[in-house]
């Protein structure tokens, strides 16, 4: 475990100070989403195409051995030599033996992440071989002695001046920082390497079982030269790249270039089926020979993943890196912090499987859970979901850190937890300092310069609800209100607003007193046992009141009820059935009210109020629940407000789950972008549908623009009702 001694906190701080990196990644993060969408302009249905990628890969992984056997048989039938390498050492031995046997001295490589995964170059160089990476970015980082910081643009962390410095050092001559000139220098230099190489090593973007072909996409043309000029070609291909038929390459080729580089197709897409001719010069005479083709089918954890119910999903990855391109954390820290060669969320997962779980432990907290990646991934991988699963397994295997375990025992015990929260408002509890504060649910988050923290309310919602609720005589619906911790203990006035809106709709509201935290902060740290306990307590509490609807005014709570509870209880048939039954009754506030208002003809959508309001989409509301139109409809129908959109309205505010708590240093820059966009919108009110976002944005505005107010949509609707009554 090479990185076990890393101080990740320190590395993050260094990256945050790296101006070159921040500048490059910031500009890229701005440009990428627009360019990507432009590349998809002539695709009728992006979703259908992504489904096709996903389906193809899912079908393949379900019978991976069979597909692999066919691929091997077909390739061998055509004269390729195939070697199945179980791990790095096996691969290296095969390759070094081959080099020795054939008298290979010079090797050119076109990009192969599988080879970087095992640091192959080092072994080759140690064995006295001359090895050249030929992809420009890979060559740059090779001579700089860096690791790739991005899967597609490995040298994105360097600027032209730095590159010129490395070139000058490598070529022992002064190279000016002129990009076209440097590219020509690379061309000239590497051309000689191509012409003299005894062996070419390439990766592959896909391998086709029906004819044993491999496919390669490149822009520079180095892939074509690597596979054409040297007399020996070695392909290193991971099992996850296999597809049954040639036609299965279509959805990959229609998404990979569009997502990776915003191109409709890369400059070169080559497919090689069996050994092809090569020209060799002997005694001054050129003759045609059949090229030696070796295919190394690489396992290194991939087959284990294929048989894992959850992690077989990594086979859906086509290595386009778009998940990094849209990741707010990656945009701040770049790829190196992730330690191994695979960066970002998918990198954390691949690293756990292909490198070591130890590395995962260090980096898993860098996933903020905002789910932007799930909107662009060609294979529709649920990256945050897989990370959460890894956390659960990690906690199961290695246990939770002692202090955290104690805290979750507290959170898991409603009475103790709530007593502590009540005491916290007085401010004498040890919440203010020490470890405890950082690991408690969201609103006990760490203090930070640019963000203030909410105070615990003097009286929680659970104590006032009976007085506040004006339940009608003949209600149309009986609503059981699940407030979640935030509305109960921090923002009870918003909880009261929810009740007011529901009562006004002629619905009655009950508040089961035995309800507790939804469990999100606990499962966020991988503690599935405590979460199960909390799920069961909540389910029982709500079954007891037998409501028509269970309403949450927090998208994360709604998601926990609807998706997480049934899932974590799936091994227990009785509880699973109960969880599913009750999940069907759970509704999120804004979408529920919008529907009711619509029925009642109350959705005016005039959008003609005097005050400007802008709406911030919570990550979970937008991307898990798919709710974004409804809150806007509600806002447009108010008499006081005019809805104006801010830039990147659905970009994370930086507060997801444990992240905002543990990594304030990363959470704050993300928050600050949000604050800037809010200010630029010209709105005087920011509306949200999520209490956690409310807490984060309020904290930021409080310090930076106190004249802009943050309100939950429920608050705004309640205001409207008050106004009407007057």
């Amino acid at each position: 475990m090479e990185s076990s001694n890393r101080n990740i906190q320190q590395e993050i701080e260094e990256k945050l100070k790296d101006e070159v990196l921040r500048g490059a990644l910031g500009r890229f993060a701005e440009a990428y989403p627009v360019s990507r969408l432009k590349a998809y302009e002539n695709v009728e249905d992006i979703e259908a195409l992504r489904d096709q990628v996903k389906q193809t890969k899912m079908d393949t992984v379900a019978r991976i051995e069979e597909v692999a056997d066919q691929f091997v048989a077909e390739a061998e039938k055509r004269g390729a030599k195939v070697f199945r390498a179980a791990d790095g050492p096996a691969l290296k031995k095969y390759l070094l033996d081959l080099c020795r046997e054939k008298g290979v001295k010079r090797i050119v490589k076109s990009k192969s992440m599988a080879s970087e995964e095992i640091h192959l170059n080092k072994d080759l160089i140690d064995a006295g071989l001359r090895v050249r990476e030929t992809d420009l970015g890979e060559w740059i980082i090779a001579i700089a002695g860096h690791k790739p910081s991005h899967m597609v643009m490995p040298a994105i962390h360097l600027n032209r001046y730095q590159v010129a410095g490395y070139f000058s050092k490598e070529l022992k001559t002064d190279i000016p920082p002129d990009i076209p000139l440097m590219v020509q220098v690379a061309r000239k230099n590497l051309r000689q390497e191509f012409l003299q190489a005894d062996m070419g090593i390439s990766g592959a973007n896909f391998g086709v079982a029906e004819n044993g072909a491999v496919g390669l996409v490149t822009n520079e043309g180095n892939g074509r030269l690597t596979t054409s000029l040297p007399p020996i070609h070695v392909v290193i291909i991971g099992y996850e790249k296999l597809i049954p038929t040639l036609k299965d390459a279509v959805p990959i080729l229609r998404t990979l270039p569009r997502n990776a580089t915003c191109q409709l197709m890369t400059s070169y897409m080559s497919m090689i089926c069996g050994p092809t001719p090569v020209m060799v010069k002997k005694d001054g005479q050129w003759t045609e020979q059949e090229k030696e083709l070796h295919i190394i089918l690489f396992d290194n954890g991939r087959l284990r993943a294929a048989h894992d119910e959850k992690f077989k999903e990594i086979y859906q990855c086509v290595r386009c890196a778009s998940c990094l391109n849209v990741c707010p954390v990656y945009a701040l820290v770049g790829g190196h912090v992730y330690g191994h060669i695979y960066a970002g969320g998918i990198g954390a997962i691949l690293t756990a499987f292909l490198n070591s779980m130890g590395d995962f432990e260090k980096i898993n907290e860098l996933c903020i859970g905002c789910r932007r990646c799930t909107e662009v991934c060609p294979g529709k991988i649920n990256i945050p979901g897989l990370i959460e699963e890894l956390r659960i397994r990690n906690a199961k295997e290695n246990g939770l850190p002692f202090a955290m375990k104690n805290i979750f025992e507290i959170v898991g015990n409603r009475k103790v937890f709530h007593t502590l929260l009540r005491l916290a408002k007085v401010g004498q509890m040890p919440f203010q300092t020490g470890r405890l504060i950082r690991h408690l649910p969201l609103f006990l988050a760490g203090l930070a310069k640019d963000r203030s923290l909410p105070a615990i309310a003097p009286t929680p919602l659970r104590d006032t609800i009976d007085k506040v609720a004006k339940n009608p005589q003949n209600p149309t619906k009986k609503i059981a209100f699940f407030s979640g911790c935030s509305l109960d203990f921090v923002y009870p006035e918003t909880g009261e607003a929810v009740v007011k809106v529901l009562n006004d709709l002629n619905m009655s509201v009950v508040f089961p007193q035995d309800q507790s935290c939804c469990g999100k902060p606990v499962i966020g740290f991988g503690d599935i046992e405590t979460t199960r306990k909390m799920a069961k307590a909540n389910i029982a509490a709500f079954e007891a009141v037998n409501p028509d609807i269970i309403l949450a005014a927090c998208p994360t709570c709604a998601e926990m009820w609807k998706e997480t509870y049934p899932e974590i209880l799936h091994e227990d048939p009785e509880w699973n059935a109960r969880a599913k039954k009750i999940a069907a009754k759970v509704r999120e506030f804004t979408s529920f009210v919008a529907e009711e208002y619509e029925k009642a003809g109350r959705l005016g959508e005039a959008n003609a109020g005097a005050k400007k309001v802008t709406y911030h989409d919570s990550c979970h509301m937008r991307r898990v629940l798919g709710i974004f139109k409804e809150p806007r409809k509600l806002l447009r129908s108010t008499s006081d407000y005019e809805l104006v959109e801010m830039k990147d309205c659905d970009k994370c505010c930086g507060m997801s789950g444990a992240f905002g708590v543990k990594h304030a240093d990363l959470s704050i820059p993300i928050l600050n972008q949000k604050i800037t966009n809010i200010k630029d919108s010209g709105a005087e009110v920011v509306a949200v549908g999520c209490p956690a976002c409310m807490m984060q944005i309020r904290g930021g505005l409080d310090k930076q623009a106190p004249n802009i107010k943050v309100k939950h949509v429920a608050d705004i609707l309640a205001e409207e009702l008050d106004k009407k009554k007057k």
Binding site: L136, G137, V183, N219, P277, V278, K281
Partner: protein, 204 residues
């Protein structure tokens, strides 16, 4: 010359393909920085190539056999101009690296992406299209399929052995500061000459 498929024309009949997709192909290919010339007859191609040679001051050309090029009479013209022209396999192997221009024939184009498909089984096809700084490709303008999907309909039927490439514009990189730079390991100019008039023999 080795080919993946001896008669692309015939197999293209099995899928959607035709000159009606040319406009879209041209737009997309240009977007990828390819240069597209559409001509009625092969002879018109001659002028395009000779102009290019004068303009770039090219001295040496390597070229693989293709019927459109033969019908254009460009080879004779080049010889008359005193240009070194190499067309045999061994000569191409020897001279491609130092040639100024490489000429080849490609099988069909894809409208969706502006790509052309090159049957690259023969090593000399790859050498002329990769090593010189300029690559000129002859293609019948009637052979355009609408999308990647149709291209693979065709590949599925014929690809049993060999080397197939899609070429989309010239070689490029954005690896330094994401600045697009044309011409890394392959050609910096990629020129397609699309010929309307069918040439007997069918195989381009």
């Amino acid at each position: 010359m080795k080919k993946v498929c001896e008669n692309w024309e015939k197999v293209l009949l099995t899928t959607t393909c035709g000159p009606e997709y040319f406009e879209e192909f041209e737009a997309k290919a240009k977007q990828a920085s390819a240069e597209i010339f559409r001509v009625k007859t092969p002879v018109e191609a001659k002028e395009i190539i000779t102009n290019l040679i004068k303009f770039t001051n090219a001295k040496k050309v390597v070229s693989v056999d293709n019927v459109l090029q033969q019908a254009s009479g460009v080879n004779e013209e080049l010889q008359a101009m005193g240009i070194e022209l190499y067309t045999s396999q061994n000569d191409i192997a020897e001279h491609a690296e130092t040639a100024d221009i490489g000429i080849s024939g490609v099988e069909f184009g894809i409208a969706e992406t502006g790509s052309v498909c090159q049957d690259a089984y023969a090593i000399e096809s790859r050498l002329v299209s990769m090593l010189p700084p300029v690559h000129i490709a002859f293609m019948p303008s009637s052979r355009i399929v609408p999308g990647v999907e149709q291209a693979f309909d065709v590949f599925s039927q014929v690809f049993q052995r060999g080397y197939l490439s899609l070429i989309t514009g010239p070689s490029r990189t954005a690896d330094i500061e994401r600045v697009l730079t044309i011409g890394v390991h392959g050609p910096s100019r990629f020129i397609v000459i699309a010929v309307d008039e069918p040439v007997s023999g069918g195989v381009a």
